[in-house]
Amino acid sequence: MNDREIGEKIRNAVNHTVPDSWEAISSRISSEGTVIDMTDMTKQPKSHKTLIRTLALGTAAALILGAGIFTASRILTSGQVEAVVSLDVNPSIEMQVNAREKVVSAQPLNTDAEAILDGMDLKGTDIRVAVNAVIGSMLQNGYIDELSNAILVSVENKDTQKGEEMTRQLTDEINEILNASAIHGAVISQLMNSDDDLKQLAQSENISAGKAAMIQSVMAQRPALTFSELAGLSINELSLLSTGSNTFTTTGTTSDAAYIGVNKAKEAALQHAGLAEKDTSGLTVELDWDSGRMTYDVKFASGNYLYDYEIDAVTGQILEQEKDTLPAGVTDSGASLDAAAARDAALKDAGLTLEQIWDLDLDYKYSLYYQRFVYEVDFESADADYDYKIDASTGEILENHREPQQNTRPGTTGQVSGDLITSDAALKAALQHAGVSEADIVGRKVKLDYDDGVYEVEFKAAGVEYEYEIGMTTGKVVNFEKEVDDDFPGNTGSTGNTGNSGSTGNTGSTSTITADEALNIALKHAGVAKADAYIEKTEWDDGHYDIEFKSAGVEYDYEIAADGSIRKSEKDRDDDYVPAGTSTGTSTGTSTSSTASTSTITADEALTIALKHAGVAKADAYIEKTEWDDGHYDIEFKSAGVEYDYEIATDGSIRKSQQDRDDDYVPAGTSSSTGSTSTITADEALTIALNHAGVAKADARVEKNEWDDDGHYEVEFKAGGMEYEYEIAADGSIRKAEKDHD
């Protein structure tokens, strides 16, 4: 893929997603007292649908504006609340309604909802108009679209008949707005009665009682999910996880357009297992919530194995893989005990409630040791980490393990920083560490534990059971355990947790080398002192450390195995090398300057202090930043290929001083502060031309690359049967690009 194609992809993606804000802009301008009237707007060529939407939203907005004016002068005579209406999408809003179906008060229940209600005065408006306005605002703010189209309407009214009527009317109202906006929506409605317990539960998670009721309904169908886990989900996600319920009425279909789909998930799992669908039996795929995200749970059997996969519903990445032995002759006739009962038996034994636990994992599998199907119930509480094995037909507790808790309860899950490694890479890292080859292991379970930031890896080999935790982005062994495998035919007599309890420890205590050690091995081999090396990469990758560094114009690339052996060493000329004794590496030091006065210094004074410390004349420095930030001045400047970064406190003391090689540095006096006179080198001109053409340097036969008196480089090269001709200006811009058959 060349730069132009990437650019095109980006342009398309942005242009496809840019929201149409014209209506909002023009209405804001006209409300600010300037021109643009409606007749002009409607003359614009528009689709019929957008026009209706404009009117629908416009009407509601106008009515609310009107209502706002009226409530100021009119006293609401009837403040008596007769019904409570809540709207949940991800924003959750609750409205109290009186007997005349006017809104008495409206509360945003979460931050998203605050933005939705911002500036709206719903008091005194008819509930239908209020609902219209709120849904309109959610549409405009992007909470409802084709990827996430489900809305929950909950009505509480002691008068069932009136309540049913209102539920129906509001559902119609919402469907009308969605239709006008050309959105295929899914409106889920319920007439409900909330008791104090439900209200309290809802309040604790900042959601409406209506959404709490929906969560409870999902929980009843999915015993492995907890209330607090589900509270953060949108109605769209909850609706997809729900397999149907009598208390809720749904019009329309909840969108799963954001996900890869059942077929792709199935393909990913089968491909990983190396099987064709015809070689499997009992294949099921369903949407699930796992590791803080939507997943597809894919299960199937083949030969003597049971497979279980969790596939990230958005990216298609395998987050969990499990392979268990099912002995010949054993068939799964289904558990007589359901998973919720197994979970409750474990909770009861632990003396805990569902609200007190997290990271709940429920697994139904065949135990070779007990020779029967069992539920494995794992969960964590504030005090301990629990593992239970429960007989799937009798509910008898076969095993219970308990370990002191090492993690705190995770907060709401955020974005991953850094890329997740694959579950395969996690398995490999564990195998490597254990010194076991993949061919020798029996069964496996690799599961992403998003909250703890690790993949949990379990497998058995030669009568030993291994349990690892591998950093989900680093691929490093965080923790590991070894135990005698109870199920192994040779290990008779040992039951429960009486195994050879293995060492639990950090990476330091293991045979695996650390990244630093790997770096030292590489540096030593290269004969380069650490201080002289510009380290670019030390990364665990697929069974080895990838080490890259530069020194004195040479680029080094090493692969160091976990045992410290060198798998690969490569040396290359560093094309980016800038000579002229630029300092390399990173040195951080702290020192206090002599200016001890307590008066606050100016930004200029701070700069002078930093320059003096660096030994750089102001005229030679390219100042990038002098900014006040949280109690100090942030000073950044460049000079002679070195990047300086300072923090100067108000009293003039230096809090931080850092030097780094300036990767952007272009020698030959070209980096000027104005940018107007800078000239690129012939090599850079060639690179620009090659990049534009999407041709690798190695593939190009350069015919010409010279400075032309007209103020540009003439660059000509041939590649892949084509002839390219470029004119590259002194500032790197392309003046001419031609392509012809060679």
Binding site: M1, D3, I6, G7, K9, I10, R11, N12, A13, V14, N15, H16, T17, V18, P19, S21, I25, S26, R28, I29, E32, T34, V35, I36, D37, D40, N141, G142, E146, L147, S148, S234, S255, A257, A258, I260, V314, Q415, D419, D664, Y665, V666, T670, S671, S672, S673, G675, S678, I680, D731, G732, S733, I734, R735, K736, A737, E738, K739, D740, H741
Partner: protein
Amino acid sequence: MNSFRLTSTTEQDHQLQAQRLEHDLSRIAAGDPEGLRALYEETRGSVYGFALSILKSVQDAEDVLQETYIRIHGAAGRYQPQGRPLAWILTITRNLAMMKLRERGRRADPEEFQWEQFSLPDNAQGVEDRLTLLALLQNLSDEERQIVVLHAVSGFKHREIAALLQRPLPTVLSKYHRAMKKLRTMLEVE
């Protein structure tokens, strides 16, 4: 003859666009409502893309998108025709986006990018767009992202980007190439 002159046509396109936008700006200044509409249709991708690349939040970017045109509407009379109307517009966008960032800092609840907020159609194109945006928003540094978007969406030359972002040209060039390298690996892996 299978020869084409890529840059000359894009250069021509740029000049034509600049003329159109300056014409629109003069219409806005004269109180013609159609001027803003035309300007909006032509530049909203550039404005939104740039705002998104700074803010990484669909909602904040949309706010800035609206605000930019409100500002243009009020300030069109002050525009001095210099043949770079888009740079003028994007400077407004940049200032508004920076204000938004500061406001966000005060609120201390950064509304970081959430892909769910993108409304994309349920087809191959929609999926591709989403992956591209994910790569763009999650894996590039702030400056890299702004440079790439200005170049790809608004067709800005590197020296124009350097002027707009107030960064030296070599910095822009090297960041651009680094970013494209990252994007290539990511988009090809998909």
